[in-house]
Symmetry: C2
Subunit: 335 residues, 2 copies
DNA sequence: CTGTTAGCGCATTCAC
DNA sequence: GTGAATGCGCTAACAG
């Protein structure tokens, strides 16, 4: 065969450039990879000819020879969940600075699909970033045994991972509500398989107990969404909670909309707290939330992927409570 | 050299599998690419050995030989703009179905950065999808001359492109407002270099003239954002507009927040219309907007990229007005 | 059905 | 400082 099945456009190879420039292929190669090794004039001439011909080194071929091609993969559960885009953006930007190309995978919150993406990327990438993976620990370990894997928001011992520690922020949120005088607080959780969810739930539960608040735990939804927040509103009202803490901002927005639709004032009658600070400034009233630093996590993950010297790091990113306009004292101050 | 600079993990090659299975390398290759060509038992045995060794075909090498590697690139101005994630998600999902791997690029609304991404992807991909490109036509043409390019929301003659025709929806929005009795309408635009923006602006202008509405055009912002909507509110109020049409939903959200902060009721005092329908259902009141079908555009773009037979298609995706709760008659009905 | 041979485009030893 | 030869891992002709 040889012929590209469907040559989009004739792409010159190193040989053609060499011929046109009157040098050997090795010289062309060096002009690109180690110009210092060549006569300045030669380099200039080769580069000129290459530019004129529109020559671009074939990364695949180069990679075959060097063993590195600079491609990495990033898999997220759902690109359309506003938590991920800032992380993706930061990862892509930093990848570019490091001369890396970034494959994006969307698992759609589905473990099977995540496995398939992993399989597709295998042998295509030098490393993989798994964000909020829905896979069981053993599967993650299995994949990590075959290739460099960095985890985000997933705490598997022995693997490099960057964790956004929302526990502190969530605890602060509970504390903030307690200070405001709330005694009845509702918790609207996220996906059960999520590390973030269990971490947040535990923090909220612990702090609530500590501050002697009554915590009403809403039945957990399969995936965090505006709808799951909306659906939880009857539960909140029925429970008589004067404040609700939601798994994330999107869920919190749903709660706010549901409350507004029923004429329940926020924060007059019910206070609302979100998490992630991705959509919070855009709501009205502006949502009190927990900062989340997804962008930082994305950047660090790419960094970690490149640094093979550290096999097992556990980077914890702290978070803070960002008080805005959806939290206030409850309607009737308890004794 | 040969040795991978930093062997993540020893990856077996086709030769090792062949040796272990007691067959030739070609047989191993066939077991993966054209199993029907081989004896069933042989295939089973090879696959078994391969699986045990953890063999994964090296795509780079395969691509070098076949001339196709199945990598495509997708460049967007800003992943964090909620219009793009659904498009990206659909593109990724469809790419996966077609056995393609998708590189993601984020130009950050910057032409220079977009050029750099293009350069990086060159020679790495079989085709490129440029979404809402910020590049001048001639640059796009130049790139299209070197590799297969599909455009989304950019109308360059001679290139395959899929366009979300929001003009119809925007015109319908103006008409809807006119029917409601509005006479003074404000338009808050988006980025000047954007095809979508000029298209929407023209549609709004034309329909406003047709329905004899006074159109107040706000000074255009560099990029569409919550802030640009927020900032436009004084202009809207000063102009005495009873309705505003924003470039997109995010901008509209900013307008709604700015209005709410000033105690101006929506839609009681001022009606608001957005565009894209990406964040609109999540607002309160739910935003009247123009549907946008970004997901469809993403899927079609990947399709078009694969179908090299059609060099110049112009797929127009229609849009509709989605009336929700932010539009109502103006406070005082004009004569 | 399966093994043999050759070459994809490039980076890299060696020689010169 | 530069050219010739070799092999990266794989697939596709061509035999058998």
């Amino acid at each position: 065969m040889r012929a590209k099945s469907l040559p989009a456009v004739s792409v010159p190879t190193i040989s053609e450039v060499a011929a046109a420039a009157g040098v050997s292929r090795a010289t062309v190669s060096r002009a690109f990879t180690r110009p210092g090794m060549l006569n300045g004039e030669t380099v200039a001439r080769v580069l000129e000819v290459a530019g004129r011909l529109g020559y671009v080194p074939n990364q695949a071929a180069r990679g075959l020879s060097t063993g590195r091609h600079g491609r990495i993969g990033l898999i997220v559960p759902d690109v359309t969940n506003p938590f991920f885009p800032p992380l993706i953006r930061a990862a892509q930007l930093h990848a570019e600075e490091t001369d890396l190309c970034l494959f994006l995978g969307n698992s759609d919150e589905d473990a099977g699909r995540e496995e398939r993406l992993l399989a597709r990327f295998a042998g295509q990438v030098e490393g993989l970033i798994l964000v909020s993976s829905r896979l069981p620990d053993e599967r993650i370990r299995a994949h990590a045994a075959r290739q460099r894997v960095v985890l985000v928001n997933r705490d598997v011992e022995g693997l490099p991972r960057v964790l956004i520690d929302t526990a502190a922020g969530m605890a602060a949120a509970v504390s903030h509500l307690a200070d405001l005088g709330h005694r009845e607080v509702a918790w609207i959780g996220g996906p059960a398989a999520s590390w973030s969810n269990s971490q947040r739930r535990d923090a909220v539960t612990a702090e609530a107990a500590c501050r002697r608040l009554r915590l009403h735990v809403a039945p957990s939804a399969r995936r965090p969404s505006f709808e799951s927040g909306l659906d939880a509103v009857p539960f909140v009202l029925y429970a008589g909670a004067t404040a609700v803490i939601a798994f994330d901002d999107v869920t919190a927005q749903g709660v706010m909309a549901g409350l507004a639709a029923r004429g329940v004032a926020v924060p007059g009658a019910v206070s609302v707290v979100g998490c992630d600070d991705v959509t919070a400034v855009r709501t009205y009233p502006a949502l009190t939330t927990v900062s989340s630093r997804g962008d930082e996590a994305g950047r660090i993950a790419v960094e970690l992927l490149g640094d093979r010297t550290v096999p097992d790091v556990r980077r914890l990113l702290g978070t803070d409570l960002v008080v805005r306009a959806t939290t206030a004292p409850p309607p009737v101050q308890p004794a």
